[in-house]
Every structure is written in C-alpha cells, then in structure tokens.
Symmetry: C2
Subunit: 78 residues, 2 copies
C-alpha cells in the first residue's frame, strides 16, 4: 500500500519549482502525491496548520512536515 | 541514465529526519543519491556554497537547491 504525500503550495514561483523538481522526484511506486493549493482550497488551511505547516511550499510525508525553501507564510494565505 | 541528487547535511536531528524521510523517498529508478556530511567532509563546503546551499539539510536536485526545514547555517560548519 502506498503512503500518502501532500504537497502544500500557493502557486508561487518557489512553489512551482519545488513541485516540478522535488515533489515530482518522489518514488511513485511508494507514494501517492496530492498537491493542495492553499490559495484556492482555503478549506484545507486548518488541516495544514494542524499538521505543523508554517509556510509554503511544504511537503507532508509520513507524518513529518518539510518546509522547502520559502514562498509564503501560511498566515498570509487566509 | 539517472540524475544525480546530493543531500547535504551535518548529522543534526533535523538533518537525520530529512534524510530518512524525504531524501529516502526519492525515486531510486531516476536518482542516484549521494549524502554529503559537511561537518566531516569540509572539503565539500566550497562546492555546496557555490551551488547556493545556505543551510543544512539541503537537497541539490537537477541544478536546484532545496533547503529543507532548518538544521544549521552553512557558515557555522566551517
């Protein structure tokens, strides 16, 4: 069974680079990747916060949050 | 032919988590991953700096540097 991976982003340039290079590099045999645009899916903001996401882009993987470079603070998104 | 991926770290707890979860999640069919401990391999510090690495852990992937959370500043390593 594959693990779930969530890529939180806001469509920013830093986010796009991270999605196209880092998120896309994950092993598709082991991970189901769900991209979540927090600017468009503001209903997911509370979930992201509760996972510990402080800024985007961020990758949630096996219960761990990895902030990747810095695009925007979560507080600026909603 | 596989792409090269370099995981720069310093053995710090944040680094270990990133290596065991994020770096280990890369697709082994597409990437050859080289972990570089900048505390032990200080000869690689100049290379890391020239790639744009400012802190560890960081992942170099296809010419892009992704700083993952924050463990230590490069300036504190050598």
């Amino acid at each position: 069974m594959k693990s779930k991976a969530i890529f939180y982003h806001a469509g920013c340039p830093v986010c796009v680079t991270a999605e196209q290079n880092l998120a896309a590099a994950l092993d598709p045999a082991r991970f189901d990747l769900e991209p979540v645009h927090l600017g468009e899916q503001s209903s997911r903001l509370a979930e992201a916060k509760s996972q510990g996401v402080q800024s985007v882009p961020a990758l949630w993987l096996d219960g761990q949050v990895f902030h990747i470079n810095f695009g925007a603070a979560l507080g600026d998104l909603g």
